[in-house]
């Protein structure tokens, strides 16, 4: 077997990971499934103040909180009397590379430099690549970004093409790949060859870097309105955004704030399909990531994912592609903020959720992202048409991912679909049990861990597992 073959490199995964992240994850294992999540995060030594200090050195964070007065009025125009909460947005596009991902990249790059790694590498097709490249440029480190960028017809996803350009603008090497999960194999090869730091989206550094977002916004809202937000909505994909933001809110004392995860519904499209690749008008923030990662976070590129969204979400909703494009246009034309579109997933959800809340209540959309060539509803919808997808005005409930994008005709049509969290918890528990050899006995510490992971109780976990065992017998 060639030492660089797919099988050979994948077999070296544990060693490559350990060298490139510099964390011995095994030391945190406490049961057959359980590990000490809080200690994994705490051992990095970064609390909110330490993270903030690092982020200030590269102008990351401390972004403006913007009240969306006109959109709030539009919510009230379509809300029942007395309803229509105040909408705010945290303008994360003000970060150096144009998204909240700078927060995630900052601690990783800081650690890589501190520990003497010659560079940083990241497997990402999105804003995170630009963020790592930007932070690496400032730190004087080499940067390699591995992207899934084009299909077998050599058609590039326009948003990813823009990310290629941005990464190259910051001096990074960009490896562009066609569609497929073997991207991870190429990424491991790069890590092995270069000895670079793995700036994974899922290390403790990446998650701790987001805590400042939740912390800042809680304090900003309190300062501005005298109260903590009632609802904070985060666009949800791999789970980091929800996890880090919620942890930051808790650290600021906003313990009664409801944390909502929002994803674009891309059900029916396969994430590893060459055919489906350019039939998705969103490259992130969609159910293709959020469903698998919520129901089993440890499918990430590190042994233990520090993004564990199910621990923190109070509610999980989806919106359609057409609704997000609609709200992106509204944000530009009513608030003078051209942002997104992917980051506006949570804004579309916020618009729907605010309608049913009281007027004195506060809903915060915790991010925006920069917009530009490729990374724009116009570019996405032109590609969609080129791929044979119908684009029309109508009832957004008629959206069908990969076939039809329906732009609402009226703001009253914007609605969220609730994901059944009980179903998600069951899926998580099933994935956990199925990851173990048959007849593995769970320890007490595992039951405790699963209860924390699913934000349920020991009784809930025990009863769910017993029920399956009963069915098997």
């Amino acid at each position: 077997m060639n030492s660089d073959s797919y099988q050979a490199i994948m077999a070296q995964r544990p060693g490559i990971m350990r060298a490139s992240v510099g964390i011995d994850y095994a030391q945190y294992t406490t049961g057959v499934l359980a590990f000490d999540y809080e200690r994994l995060l705490a051992d990095t030594g970064y609390d909110i103040d330490a993270t903030h200090k690092v982020q200030r050195t590269t102008a990351v964070g401390d972004t403006p909180l913007v009240e969306l007065h006109n959109m709030t009025e539009l919510v009230r125009a379509v809300a029942p009397p007395g309803k229509g909460a105040r909408l705010f947005v945290k303008d994360e596009a003000a970060n150096p590379s144009g998204s909240f991902k700078d927060r995630r990249a900052s601690l990783s790059v800081h650690e890589a430099a501190k520990r003497g790694y010659p560079g940083v590498a990241a497997a990402t097709s999105g804003n995170y690549g630009a963020a790592v490249a930007s932070q690496a440029a400032k730190a004087g480190l080499g940067c390699i970004v591995v992207q899934e960028a084009f299909d077998s017809q050599a058609i590039a996803q326009p948003e990813i093409a823009e990310k290629t350009r941005a990464c190259e603008a910051y001096g990074a090497e960009v490896i562009r790949l066609s569609v497929g999960p073997e991207l991870f194999y190429v990424f491991l090869q790069v890590l092995k060859e270069t000895g670079y730091f793995n700036a994974s989206l899922y290390t403790p550094y990446s998650i701790l870097g987001i805590e400042t977002l939740g912390y800042e916004l809680a304090r900003q809202v309190k300062q501005h309105t005298g109260r903590f937000p009632d609802v904070v909505i985060a666009t949800h994909a791999g789970g980091g955004n929800v996890t880090g933001t919620a942890r930051g809110l808790l650290k600021a004392g906003a313990t009664n704030t409801q944390m909502v995860a929002a994803s674009v519904d891309l059900s029916g499209l396969h994430m590893a399909s060459d055919h489906d690749f350019n039939r998705k008008s969103f490259t992130t923030g969609h159910t293709g990531f959020s469903m698998p990662f919520t129901t089993w976070p440890d499918r990430a590129d590190v042994p233990r994912n520090a993004a564990r969204a199910l621990r923190y979400m109070d509610r999980f909703v989806t919106v359609s592609q057409g609704e997000v494009f609609y709200i992106t246009q509204v944000l530009a034309e009513l608030e003078g903020m051209e942002r997104g579109p992917a980051g506006n997933t949570s804004l579309a959800a916020a618009f729907a959720i605010a309608r049913n809340l009281d007027q004195q209540q506060i809903v915060v959309v915790q991010e925006t992202e920069y917009t530009g060539a490729g990374k724009h509803p116009i570019a996405q919808l032109n590609l969609a048409r080129q791929m044979g997808i119908e684009v029309t005005r109508g009832d957004p409930r008629d959206n069908k991912p990969g076939e039809r994008i329906v732009i609402p005709e009226h703001p009253s049509q914007i609605a969220v679909v609730d994901v059944d969290l009980d179903h998600v918890r069951h899926s998580y528990l099933r994935n956990g049990i199925e990851s173990l050899p048959a007849d593995t006995m769970l320890d007490d510490v595992d039951i405790e861990f699963l209860a924390a992971e699913t934000r349920s109780s020991r009784t809930y976990v025990q009863e769910t597992i017993d029920e399956w065992h009963g069915k098997r017998r």
Partner: protein
Amino acid sequence: MTELIGKGTWVEIHRIVLPAGERAPQVPDDTRQVSLEMRVKGFLVAPASPGEEAEIVTSVGRRLRGVVRQVNPAYTHGFGAPIAELSGIGREVRALLRGRRQGS
């Protein structure tokens, strides 16, 4: 004979990482039937011809080999034509707000 591209020129190389038939077991059928391809940009180490294999040095100094596909590759992504289904939204929501303000 094609003209040689000069040493130091910014080019994009292309190579097959995994041919169709050698893809990972978990990929769906449509993906299995095509190759995993790689494209990377860098500076040519020595003069080369388009369509021939050559070596580049990337921005971080890595040396990679592949077939030269593009010379000084353009960024061609953009916006395209305005989308009629989006163009009317601003007027519609402004009219809604006007109506509400006049009504109250």
